[in-house]
């Protein structure tokens, strides 16, 4: 009997203690934060956890962002997508296929080693052994590398290739320390060593990645002492956490939160042109979509304007897309206009193509709010012209398999120009040799477009390339393998005292000049 009572009392005691404890810790952290005039730790809420911190492991946006702060590439894009020197102070093209890079001297890795051309060579060569990264160096000759001295690096492309400088900026080609990689082996993925403004501190899987200022950085030292990249996958939670002051920056803010964050005095919202385009892709290798009239018909049957109004809150979250080249890139064909919304014309074209009574196709998608709404609207609009769109949501892994195998009828995607190069982007979207890869969802096979792409890929003259890009876009428009939905903005929410954040269109945001202003 007594024991029972005792245990009840102790239970209550435990609860009281726990509650008391909570009050205590809360008070301490609160006052700790206030007593210091300026915080030098930034907390960033990310939508997705990187698969690794080895630059060859992944290129999801959040990983590219962290890589950019831990590592450096030889060349890199600035915020206008212009190529700038970084670890290489300059480069020259020796002949059609040979490039020579002059490396910066006195650059230190986080482990204290100095950057040598051997590290650069190592960083390039290792890609050939990694299945996920191999494609990045497919145009570079594995036997063409040379290191004439510690600060010069020479490489050759397999054939003339004008996008090489852009490829050098790729996050896969971040320069790693040969010594660190050799010593760490597989563990390098969780213990990265680069030359960037921040060095790696810790990674708690599923929770956070912490980096701190690298005092021996070759360029101007970072202003912040520590950055804590926290993984908060739920968009709603991420924004609530920002608004309640739990995090300083929330990445990938949804369209519905834009206005509120703008109006709130305690928060800011930065919106920028992402290097991505959202579109729907017809699988041209399927019988029904082999005929371009059918693809055109469905373009006519789609009221993209109203879809955009609904999905992006009347233009707050995106801008109209008229071609597959994003506005920030050169060679964009500005003469093109979106197909009109004209159901009658759509019906006529369908009848002409032999489908007077329409047909039924499946829409394979990942079940999230955006895809679902988009699909539901397309379903309703296409029904008007007799085309039945069957919603077939797939779970992510199955979807990837289905799309890579080309088994889908119709899908939607948001594709980015990872290389930041117009021709390379178009090539990956529409060239028939790219079938089965992740950017090529339309399975277009058009010899004319193929030929123009091949030609543009080796063309050195910038004006000529732009001219070719122009022609290709016009042809693609006629072929209509895609329905352009929008160029989406990328939204970043910040607390009002976070300053100096400059968004990069390719997601490689630089945190070295970010600081927290005094209140």
């Amino acid at each position: 009997m007594k024991r029972k009572k005792m245990s009840l009392v102790s239970l209550l005691l435990v609860i009281a203690l726990l509650l008391g404890g909570c009050g205590g810790t809360g008070g301490e952290t609160g006052s700790g934060g206030e007593s210091e005039p300026v915080r030098d730790t930034l907390i960033v809420g990310m939508d997705r956890e990187p698969a690794g911190l080895d630059p060859t492991s992944t290129h999801v946006t959040t990983a590219v962002m962290i890589f950019n702060n831990i590592y450096d590439t030889l060349l890199s894009f600035d915020n206008e997508m212009k190529i700038q020197p970084r670890l290489a102070i300059s480069y020259e093209q020796l002949d059609d296929v040979t490039y020579k890079f002059h490396l910066r001297k006195g650059v230190k890795f986080h482990n204290g080693e100095e950057l040598k051309s051997s590290d650069v060579l190592f960083s390039f060569k290792r890609l050939y052994d990694i299945p996920a990264a191999k494609g990045q160096v497919s145009m570079i000759d594995p036997n063409g590398f040379e290191c004439p001295d510690d600060y010069t690096f020479v490489l050759k492309t397999t054939e003339p290739w004008s996008a090489l400088p852009a490829q050098i900026c790729s996050s896969y080609l971040n320069i790693v320390s040969e010594k660190a990689v050799t010593e760490a082996g597989e563990d390098f993925n969780r213990n990265p060593v680069g030359t960037g403004p921040f060095q790696f501190v810790s990674w708690t899987a599923g929770d956070s990645i912490v980096v701190e200022r690298f005092e021996d950085y070759w360029d101007e030292k970072a202003l912040l002492k520590t950055i804590n990249f926290r993984i908060i996958t739920e968009a709603t939670s991420r924004v609530i956490d920002l608004e309640s002051g739990g995090i300083d920056i929330a990445l990938a803010v949804g369209v519905t939160d834009i206005e509120r964050l703008r109006e709130n005095a305690a928060t800011d919202l930065i919106q920028f042109n992402h290097t991505g385009i959202r579109y729907g892709a017809f699988n041209c290798s399927k019988e029904v979509f082999a005929d371009k009239r059918v693809r055109q018909a469905l373009n006519y049957a789609t009221n993209v304007e109203i879809i955009r109004d609904v999905l992006y809150d009347k233009g707050i979250g995106a801008m109209p897309a008229t071609t597959s080249v994003i506005p920030i890139l050169s060679g964009r064909n500005t003469d093109l206009v979106q197909y009109d919304y004209d159901p009658e014309k759509a019906k006529a074209l369908l009848a002409e193509a032999g489908y007077p009574d329409g047909f039924s196709v499946e829409y394979n998608f990942l079940s999230n709010t955006k895809n679902t709404r988009l699909g539901e609207m397309l379903q309703a609009q296409w029904a008007e012209v007799g085309v039945e769109l069957v919603m077939a949501p797939l779970e992510s892994a199955t979807l990837t398999a289905t799309l890579n195998a080309g088994e889908h009828d119709f899908c939607t995607a948001n594709s980015t120009y990872a290389l930041g190069d117009t021709i390379e982007g178009l090539y990956s979207f529409y060239h028939s040799s790219m079938h089965g890869t992740s950017r090529c969802r339309a399975y277009l096979s058009n010899p004319e477009i193929d030929a123009l792409l091949d030609e543009a890929r080796v063309e050195k003259n910038e004006d000529k390339r732009e001219q070719l890009a122009y022609e290709i876009q016009a042809l693609v428009h006629e072929e209509a393998p895609w329905i352009y939905i929008a160029y989406e903005y990328y939204n970043v929410g910040l607390l009002a005292d976070v300053q100096g954040f400059k968004p990069a269109p390719n997601s490689a945001h630089d945190f070295s000049c970010v600081y927290i202003a005094e209140k």
Binding site: M1, K4, K5, L8, L11, V14, I15, L18, G21, C22, T25, G26, T29, A51, G52, S57, T58, H59, V60, P131, A132, A133, K134, G135, Q136, E186, N189, R190, T204, A205, G206, D207, R230, I231, I232, T233, E234, T236, S237, R238, I240, D241, E243, S244, G245, G246, E395, S396, A397, T398, T400, A401, N404, A418, G436, T437, S438, R439
Partner: protein, 308 residues
């Protein structure tokens, strides 16, 4: 008693083996290719084939299963496909968080449930009885993820009392634990109430009352003790439910726990993590059930005699 416990522990072995077979088979038949997911955009057919080969994914079912089991017997749970970390390390990082969360949630639900149950029983048919039971049931009927978001809005954003997400201090644990705990308080409250009512009507309570003991003492000393027996079982079952409930709660509150890790792993066909995680959850559930049975015997000596 010792013998009984040993036998129960031995019984866990075939069950755990069964769990490995089921999980392994389910993952095997599920469409989707981990190699494709690892390769992301670099997934050309050749690269996929090469990686599959490297990962041993092309081996026949039995070969893969026996490799998994033999590694397991050597204490190796494999390596996470996604971040290349040993699965064991990932479990060491995530499991304590989920256990803490589940334990706190059980504490919340038991405290709430017992309190509401006792008072409801003592004041049967009063306004309090009805209101308490109705509230408890509401908590049970509310989808967890919605409740979590609403609590977050209220306590983090509007009141500013508690942090919205993360799991770095006790303060961070309160909202998720309450979210999970309230969903099962109703079951405990109902159980406590009905078994208390049953006991209260029993003869020895009347005797105690007749002897002039004060009402609350009657309830606490006599009624509660006997009423606790079925409640303890329920608490054990609750623990299992909480481990499951942690899945969504961890997503909402960005908690690095097993549940969230498992969902991500199933989606990414991260087989080693799925297998290791399920095994770990199953094992801990079996242990909790065993503990409940032991506790049960402790509370009610009559049951002890059955444990042979």
């Amino acid at each position: 008693m010792i013998k009984y416990i040993l036998r129960r522990i031995l019984m866990m072995i075939p069950v755990m083996l069964g769990v490995t077979i089921i999980v392994f088979t389910m993952m095997y038949i599920t469409p989707g290719d981990p190699a494709e997911i690892i390769l992301e955009d670099g997934a050309t057919p050749e690269a996929v084939a090469e990686l599959r080969e490297e990962m041993g994914l092309d081996d026949p079912y039995l070969v893969r299963y026996f490799r998994f089991v033999s590694d397991l017997l050597h204490g190796d749970l494999g390596t996470c496909y996604a971040i290349g970390q040993p699965v064991f390390d990932r479990l060491v990082q995530t499991f304590p968080n989920t256990m803490k969360l589940a334990a706190l949630a059980v504490l919340v639900s038991t405290t709430l449930g017992l309190l509401m149950g006792i008072i409801s029983a003592a004041k049967q048919y009063s306004v309090f009885d009805n209101v308490a039971m109705a509230l408890a049931m509401m908590g049970n009927a509310m989808p967890n993820f919605w409740q979590g978001l609403l609590l977050m809005l209220l306590f983090s954003l509007w009141l500013g009392w508690l942090p919205a997400s993360g799991f770095s201090s006790f303060k961070h644990m309160i909202l998720p634990a309450v979210t999970m705990g309230t969903s099962s308080a109703a079951i405990i409250a109902r159980m406590t109430r009905s078994s208390m009512l049953e006991v209260i009507r029993a003869d020895y309570i009347s005797t105690a009352r007749a002897k002039g003991q004060v009402e609350y003492r009657v309830i606490l000393r006599h009624a509660l003790k006997n009423a606790l027996i079925p409640v303890v079982t329920i608490i054990g079952i609750q623990f299992g439910r909480q481990l499951g409930g942690a899945v969504l709660t961890e997503s909402i509150f960005a908690i690095p726990g097993v549940g969230k890790m498992m969902v991500d792993a199933i989606k990414a066909r991260n087989f080693p993590v799925v297998q290791g995680g399920v095994l770990m959850i199953a094992l801990s559930l079996s242990i909790v059930n065993l503990l409940v049975d032991i506790l049960y015997a402790y509370i009610d000596p009559r049951i002890k005699s059955q444990y042979k």
